[in-house]
Structure formats: C-alpha cells, structure tokens
Symmetry: C2
DNA sequence: CGATGACTTGACTGCTGTCAACGTGCGTGG
DNA sequence: CCACGCACGTTGACAGCAGTCAAGTCATCG
C-alpha cells in the first residue's frame, strides 16, 4: 500500500521495477535465469525506500537475514577495529550483491553504508534458499556470483600486497572505469562517490598520498580531476601503470 | 584397479578413507550432512595418489572441472604477473577447499602447488552440483563454505592494507596456530611448510623483513624459531601484537 | 558570511625494500 | 662416509617511498 506521501519523495517507478524490467538483470543475480523463473525470484524480492547518504543498510554484528543488491547509487562496506577505526573493504555499484560474507556465521561481519542516495533490492535469504532448491539455474548462478566475489577479493589482495601507491590508485580507477562501462555509463568520465579519505582507507594509503597522486596523474596528462569528477585522458597509459590487465576476465573486479 | 606397485609407495589406508571415517569431516564439506547423505557425497569423491612436494594440483588457466579438499599435507595457491613473478594468495591445510574461485569463469585463476607430500580429495563439480540439487543441506554447507572464504579474504585484505610488517607476521602465526588447533594439532608448536620467501610473498613483505622479524620476536621472548620449526612462547602477547582477535569467530581464517 | 568538512601542499621522518655478503643444513654423488 | 654444491636463511648498510604532522585553500551549507 504505497502512500501518497512516499510518492512525493520517491518516484513509484524506482520502487517497482521488477527483475524482468531491470536494466541490471544481465549483471545481477538473475543472469541465466529463465523468464518464468525470474518471476518467482522477483516475487521474493523486497524493494524498500532508498537510503539517504550516510544511512546504514546493516551494521556490524547485525543478524543475517537477507542479501542485498544495489539497484542505484553506491555503498561502502567496512569493518571497525577495536579503537573504532574503520577499514573499508569494498565499494558497491548497481547490480552488485552485498552481504555474501554473512552467510557463514549468520552475522554481518561488515557494515554497509550509502555513499549517496541508494536504492536496494532486499533478498530474504530463507526464501531465496528455498527457491534455489527448486531452481538449479539459480543455485548455479549463486555459486558463480560467490566464486566471482572470491576471485575479486584475491585480486584485491594482490593489489594491496604487492603494488606501489601509484599502481594501487591506477588499478582502482581502471576498475571503476570498467565497472561503469559494464553498466552502460561512460568509462572515461565519472564521479567518485567516495572521499579521498575513503579511497586511501580502501587502498591502504594515507589520504594525502591519494591527493598527491591525483595531482601527479593530472600533471602527467593521464587524467583530469576536479573534486569528485574524474576524466580519464590516457586510459591506456593509466592501465599500464596499474600493472593489471584492464579488459580482463573478471568484469566486476573491484 | 590399484596396482601392487602403488601399494608399495602409498598405504592403501591413506587412499580409501571415506568421508564418514575422515577425521576432518567436522571442518570440511560434509559439515551438517546426515550420514546417509554423506555416503552419496563420498561416492562422487575421487581420491588420487598423493602429490609430491612441488607438484601442481592445477595450473593457471586450467579448465575448471573439480573442487579439491586437502586431506593431508599443505598447498599454496598463487597467481603470476606478466613478468613471471608469483604472488601467493593462500596456504591450505587439511580440511580446506581449493578451487572455489574457478567456478565463476570455468577457469582456474590461480595455480595450486604442494608444499610437501599432500593427499587430495577431488570433487568433480558436475556431480557435486547434481547432488547438491538433491541435498539442500549440502547446498547450504557449500554456501557457508564460500561465504567463509569471502570473509577470510576480507580479513586478509584488512591485514595487508593496514597493518605493519610486525602485525602481519604476528597475525599470520596466530592464524596458523588457530588452524592447527582446530585440526587437533598443537597450537603452540608446529612446522612451517613454507619458506621465508613464501611467507613474505604472501604477506607483502620482503623475505629479509620476515627473517628479521622472526629474530626479533625470538629476542623478545615471543617465540622460538629454528629453521621451519616454530614454538609460540607468549601467544597472548603475540596475539596482542597482531591487532586481531585471536579466538575469533572465523575458524578457518588465513 | 562564517563555520565546517574536504582537499591540497610542504617538510620531515621512519619503516621497509633492495643489494650484498655470509652462514647453515641437506641431499647428491663420488 | 665424506665433500661439495645449492637452496634457504640471516645479518648489515643504505636508500626511497609513503606516512605523519601541520598549515593553508576551497567549496558547500546553514
């Protein structure tokens, strides 16, 4: 029963897009699911009002009940150490699932927070499990998604373990670029939804280092940066800097 | 048709231990599976001759056909960069699954190599998938295992991104200690199956740094080290050094 | 218009990598 | 059984990348 009040704030369209009509269904959980089965998946999915910037989707220690898919906007997931410091583990764009790490112990080990106004599809896990018991293609896709996530995390470990600050930032930008392209956005011009501090935190660098590198990359003609707005000028060379394959096999690489 | 020749080299017992009789079935894939179902899982598992030290279980780019569980011994998994350098992504002890990152793209993104004589259970993925379509408890356990793997990788990202050399090595030793304890081995005295170079590579440190830290930890009375043999003297303090929770919730943490 | 948070830039320091030499144990072959 | 070679490990000297501290600029919002 959507109220008139909600309609004023949020377009009804945003709330009611079904998986079948969602532009993300080629990169989200429904990949490889037949239309009639997609309806059944769609039926268990819960679409709530969007999160405002800074709002939490879930917090560390929350009981695990659902997986979540980003429909629009972006999230960061992070852990906190004893002294309250946050460590960002990932940024999540539309079509990406969050909460996969909570299945094992029925508790969210990370918190998820909106970086901007963000719409979410909630997938209650009990229903999802029952459904995937009936739909082998869904089960298969779930394993693929989780496997891809493991693969991405491994790539990140490599970046954090071995790369210089310059390589890390270049790899980060190329990864974002690839992910935006996959979603139909420009791969050379986009807005960062996270702060310099967030980027540095995620990459294991001081925010000052990130800032200096942006300046240097700009001076070297690799990109143009103004506040949160990025334009990749020499994607090829940036790519080379990152010591990574840039049109690689893992499309959702972070 | 096992030949007499094989029997000379490998004890038959090592080869034929079924899941039901395996001491690892409380930490491996069969967790939470009923006995009659475990038999069905057991039936699809292939137990081969052990790998010798240095032998590959699979290589980068190999077509994905099976998951593997370590039965005894240990493995390392690694990627190689364009210039042929290897980057170690994990060490794998008995009861741990490898190859989970290959499901997504049907190709192994990492290679797996035995660090010592190592026995393996091979789990053909097609058979496994069919079976788990019939056994919800198996499917559930598989999701848990993969979720745990994602969680562990996140922990590693944290270690690599934020910790000092000292903290990384301490965390590594504590993690090994926990994993050995879980498997019924001593948590204070064990042999490293990997070289200093391997440890450094894995932790994103120079092997010289690892060596220096071992010496320093020993001088500070935290542990005793002689070649590959480690004895943790002051586990508590080492734990504190690692800036991590040491009896934490993720038992298979790397 | 002032306050606040985000970002930039500079100076300095220190951790950790690199290069190099040396020690040690193990396995192979004589 | 011994000697040699080799891989592994230790230790020292030095340098450089990136962190920390600090000051200053800029944009946004109340």
């Amino acid at each position: 029963m959507p109220t008139r009040k909600q309609e004023k704030v949020v377009s009804l369209k945003d709330i009611t897009v079904a998986c079948q009509a969602c532009s993300l269904n080629e990169i989200c959980l429904p990949v490889g699911i037949e239309n009639k089965d997609m309806e059944r998946l769609d039926a268990i999915i819960d679409r709530k009002r969007p999160l405002a910037r800074g709002e939490h989707l879930f917090r560390i220690g929350d009981r695990f009940r659902s997986l979540y898919a980003v429909r629009s906007g972006s999230l960061k997931t992070y852990a906190t150490s004893e002294d309250g410091q946050e460590q960002i583990m990932g940024f999540h764009l539309p079509g990406e699932l969050v909460g996969l790490d909570a299945i094992a112990n029925d508790v969210h080990p990370l918190a998820a927070k909106a970086l901007e106004t963000t719409s979410i599809c909630e997938i209650p896990f009990d229903s999802f499990e029952s459904l995937s018991n009936q739909l082998p293609s869904l089960q298969r896709q779930m394993l693929r998604v989780m496997s891809q996530e493991i693969h991405n995390d491994e790539q990140n470990m490599l970046t954090l373990g071995q790369r210089s600050a310059e390589e890390r930032l270049a790899a980060f930008l190329i990864s974002l670029s690839n992910r935006y392209r996959r979603r139909g956005f420009s791969s050379t011009q986009f807005n960062l939804t996270m702060s310099r501090g967030d980027i540095g935190n995620y990459l294991g660098l001081a925010l000052e280092t990130v800032s200096r590198l942006f300046t240097r990359f700009q001076n070297e003609g690799l990109l143009k940066v103004e506040r949160r707005n990025i334009e990749l000028i020499d994607r090829q060379r940036l790519c080379h800097f990152s010591s990574a394959n840039c049109y690689g096999d893992n499309p959702d690489n972070t």
